[in-house]
């Protein structure tokens, strides 16, 4: 809706008049405030999923036990890859703020590739675990493990789609509103997904059952 008012320009909803100085009551742009609120809500989503996992991680039934099938060195490497993607995301935001479209698309692409590597690693990990006898319905541990890490994987995948879409529309110069802010918003989401992974990695893989 960008400018519903004249002097009191409410910049909002993929606003297309990004260049305008906009006076919101808090000084934060509507889009950024909305993204922070959404991430706040996401904390409770992952909170619920993590609680479920923590409750059920010892309930393995006849299936494999958690630490008999985790490949911690492998997951550590893919976690490192995901964490590095936060760095490249930061470089993308910095390039966008300098209005450097080439740099922005380059770093967004690298971030997406690192994210894809992580998701690929997760697919490999799930396949290996399945072959070792841990299916989604094998035990409560299996169900809650796949649900928690699966939800996180879907979040990363959605993030990759957003990054790639952003690269596409920057190339066609069709970013509505303030380009640097749009990149920053995707970045906020991306960093959040990374931070959640640090928590999941610690609780799921590193703490012994």
């Amino acid at each position: 809706m960008a400018d519903v008012a004249v002097h009191h320009t409410d910049h909002a909803d993929h606003g297309d008049h990004g260049g305008h100085g906009h006076a919101t009551s808090t000084g934060l742009s509507n889009n950024k405030l909305a993204m922070w609120l959404f991430l706040g809500s996401e904390c409770l989503l992952f909170g619920g999923l993590i609680s479920t996992y923590m409750l059920y991680r010892g309930r393995v039934g006849d299936g494999p036990r958690p630490h008999s099938i985790y490949d911690i060195p492998f997951t550590s490497v893919s976690s490192f890859v995901l964490l590095m993607s936060s760095l490249t995301m930061l470089l993308a935001v910095s390039a966008a703020q300098k209005r450097d479209d080439r740099g922005t698309t380059l770093w967004l692409t690298v971030t997406g590739l690192l994210g894809a590597t992580f998701v690929g690693g997760q697919v490999y990990e799930f396949t290996a675990m399945y072959n070792e006898g841990l299916g989604f319905t094998t035990s409560l541990f299996g169900s809650s493990f796949y649900t928690l890490t699966g939800f996180h994987g879907v979040h990363v995948t959605v993030g990759i789609i957003m990054l790639m879409a952003l690269v596409g529309i920057i190339k066609r110069s069709k970013v509505p509103g303030d380009k640097a802010e749009v990149v920053e918003l995707v970045g906020l989401y991306w960093h959040f997904v990374d931070v959640v992974w640090i928590i999941i990695f610690t609780l799921v893989y590193l703490i012994p059952t």
Partner: protein, 664 residues
């Protein structure tokens, strides 16, 4: 929305159309209809969406009410034959689900949508298309849940759908699947709506309106949105786990597989208890507007009402396990939650004191809205007191799963939440439609509802303390007891009460119908109101305000109408609403750009039930739905939310074009 095309070049033979859809970046041309159904279906205007939310909620109120009356008919006499045991279970489950998720929440959203932007002096919400998306999601979710009636029976596990009863073994019909997915879709609306409304309130207040100068309804709505923001994801997780169990063979709540069914209870009530404040706080906000206006006094202790509202918002997170006292939590947990529950009565009590002090010594004007507001204070207090008895765990253990609980939550939800919403109808109807609801019919509506509700729910205290369990589809004469405590007598009274209550609701519908047909126009400021929404025409203009007001006071509109005489210190009227409106119109802003209507919110919202239907019946359909979802998201993202400037601003030569033409 105000879309104006550039005047056609002189060579073009046809005269210029009033509005031309532009393609801009979107896949479709924009909708531009200004009249007829298209102007409603594709609208992003917060006022139209507010009315649509209200109409939908009223429809579901009637559906849920019919379900309630059927339940009461079944229980009116021993060994009722109206409903079978199975249908009875579906009936009470769907009654509660409908009333909570499809009536009270959307009706509160209707008021929030319509009045929060007006009360803070904004021209729309922060994200108008997301607002439209929210409405269509609730509608899609509500219809989806109710579809289950036609496909093998509705959900039958109670609105809290306790595990393991909700699993595939004990609930083999698809009812629970429809229920879980439908709530999931409606939950998306709550989440997006919460984000939208919080951003609107925090970011789009008129100049000068600090947080402590915000109207109280806006304040309590803000608290509600924060509760939604954090409560909805918890039920989302619970519903996902349930759906994974039912559709994909997981065993999250399957005791035989070693699961802990209490997990569901915890997740559900961590959502469910904030939910009860989500239901009641909007009504608290409404009567906190109504009582001062009809008492001709400012709200007593405004900061206390604000902070006690916020306190309820915080403490509301720490009391969920009082729904689970009978589940064997252990003495420490029970003691903690018991004390926390007693504590939350304090901020609620603060509000009751504030309302009472507001009307104390005021010049009371007992309109229909005031009747409902005072009714809320009395009835909610009764429900609140029986609520405090539940916080005493030993006593609660006796009352769990009896009609005493049913009596309690109907006093707070019907006597509280619903009466507040009705106060809102009578108070704000002239603002929304420019016509006043009939006051005499309104008072009849009130008395039928008060008498009906007390006859229905009052006896349930007795029934419950005598031990009549909830959710039993019949009771037998042999065990009904004698004398004053005869179950048969009080069950009959409750059933008669529910019919009287229905007459009350019917009177409201007749009132709406009569008002719609009447030609009588309401005065601009019929109640001598205090807040900004009354500072514009009725119904408000497309862009709400010709000039965004600069706010200097709490109750700004009152302070523009009245001033203290410096000599005699008497409060005297210095301007009428008409004067204030005329002054605004004379200084109207030029070039007001309103957000443009869009097809995408509707398309995106209705792609979601396709996915969920597919998960229940056939995965390829779900994939089709997901593709439509994804494409709609891209279409949405690529469509600018506001039509390009060329659509609004004709060249300078276009003298006399009206920028304010409301075209959408």
């Amino acid at each position: 929305m105000a879309i104006i095309e550039q005047p056609a070049p002189a060579s073009t033979p046809e005269p210029a159309l009033p509005a031309t859809p532009t393609r801009a970046y979107g896949a479709f041309k924009r909708p531009v209809a200004t009249t007829g159904w298209k102007s409603w279906v594709f609208t992003v205007d917060h006022k139209k969406l507010g009315i649509m939310y209200g109409a939908m909620a009223m429809f579901f109120f009637i559906v849920g009410g019919i379900e309630a009356v059927l339940i009461r008919l079944q229980l009116a006499a021993p060994d009722g034959k109206v409903l079978s045991a199975d249908v009875y279970n579906q009936m009470f489950t769907m009654h509660a689900t409908t009333m909570v998720f499809l009536f009270v929440m959307p009706m509160a959203a209707a008021f929030a949508n319509y009045f929060v932007p007006l009360q803070i002096g904004a021209r729309d919400v922060a994200f108008p298309r997301i607002n439209a998306f929210g409405f269509w999601c609730v509608l899609a979710g509500g219809l989806f849940i109710n579809l289950s009636w036609f496909f093998g029976g509705a959900a039958d596990g109670g609105w809290f759908m306790y595990a393991p009863n909700s699993g595939p073994v004990f609930s083999p019909s698809t009812g629970v699947d429809y229920w879980a997915f439908g709530l999931q879709i409606a939950g998306i609306a709550s989440l997006t709506g919460a984000i939208n409304m919080i951003v609107t309130v925090l970011n789009m207040r008129a100049p000068g309106m600090s947080l402590m100068k915000m109207p109280i309804f806006t304040w309590l709505t803000l608290v509600v949105q924060f509760l939604l923001l954090f409560a909805v994801p918890v039920i989302t997780v619970a519903l996902f786990l349930l759906s994974f169990q039912r559709s994909f063979g997981a065993t999250f709540f399957d005791v035989a597989a070693g699961a802990d069914p209490l997990l569901w209870q915890h997740l559900f009530w961590i959502f469910g208890h904030p939910e009860v404040y989500i239901l009641i706080l909007p009504s608290f906000g409404i009567i906190s507007e109504v009582l001062p206006v009809f008492s001709k006094k400012p709200l007593f202790g405004y900061p206390f009402v604000v902070f006690s509202g916020a306190a309820i918002g915080f403490v509301g997170w720490g009391v969920w396990a009082h729904h689970m006292f009978a589940s064997g939590l252990g003495p420490v947990s029970v003691a903690v939650f018991s004390v926390a529950t007693m504590a939350i009565a304090v901020p609620t009590g603060v509000k009751i004191v504030n309302w009472t002090m507001t009307i104390w010594g005021g010049k009371l004007n007992f309109t229909a809205a005031m009747h409902f507001a005072v009714g809320l204070i009395v009835l909610f207090t009764i429900g609140g007191l029986s609520g405090v008895t539940h916080s005493v765990a030993p006593s609660d253990t006796q009352q769990t799963d009896t009609y005493y609980i049913v009596a309690h939550f109907h006093y707070v939800l019907f006597g509280g939440a619903v009466f507040g919403l009705f106060a809102g109808f009578y108070y704000w109807w002239p603002k929304m439609f420019g016509k006043q609801l009939n006051e005499r019919l309104g008072k009849a509506n009130f008395w039928f509802m008060v008498i009906g509700m007390n006859l229905t729910f009052g006896p349930m205290h007795i029934l419950g303390l005598q031990g009549q369990p909830r959710r039993m589809y019949v009771w037998t004469e042999a065990r009904a007891g004698e004398g004053f405590f005869n179950l048969g007598f009080w069950n009959l009274v409750a059933s008669i009460g529910s019919l009287i209550l229905s007459v009350g609701v019917l009177l409201f519908l007749i009132n709406v119908w009569k008002t719609a047909r009447s030609k009588e126009v309401a005065p601009l400021d019929p109640w001598d109101a205090r807040t900004l929404e009354w500072m514009t025409t009725s119904p408000p203009k497309e862009h709400n305000f010709d000039v965004i007001p600069t706010v200097h006071h709490l109750d700004e509109f009152f302070h523009r109408k009245y001033a203290e005489d410096p000599v005699t210190h008497e409060i005297k009227q210095v301007a009428t609403a008409e004067d204030i409106l005329a002054e605004q119109e004379a200084n109207a802003d030029k070039h007001i750009h309103m957000p443009s209507p869009s097809y995408w919110p509707l398309l995106l919202a209705f792609s979601l039930p396709i996915i969920t239907l597919g998960i229940i019946y056939s995965i390829p359909v779900a994939i089709l739905g997901a593709v439509i979802t994804l494409l709609s998201m891209f279409g949405w993202a690529l469509e600018p939310s506001t039509a390009p400037d060329s659509d609004y601003d004709p060249p300078a030569s276009g003298e006399g074009t009206k920028e304010l033409a409301p075209l959408g």
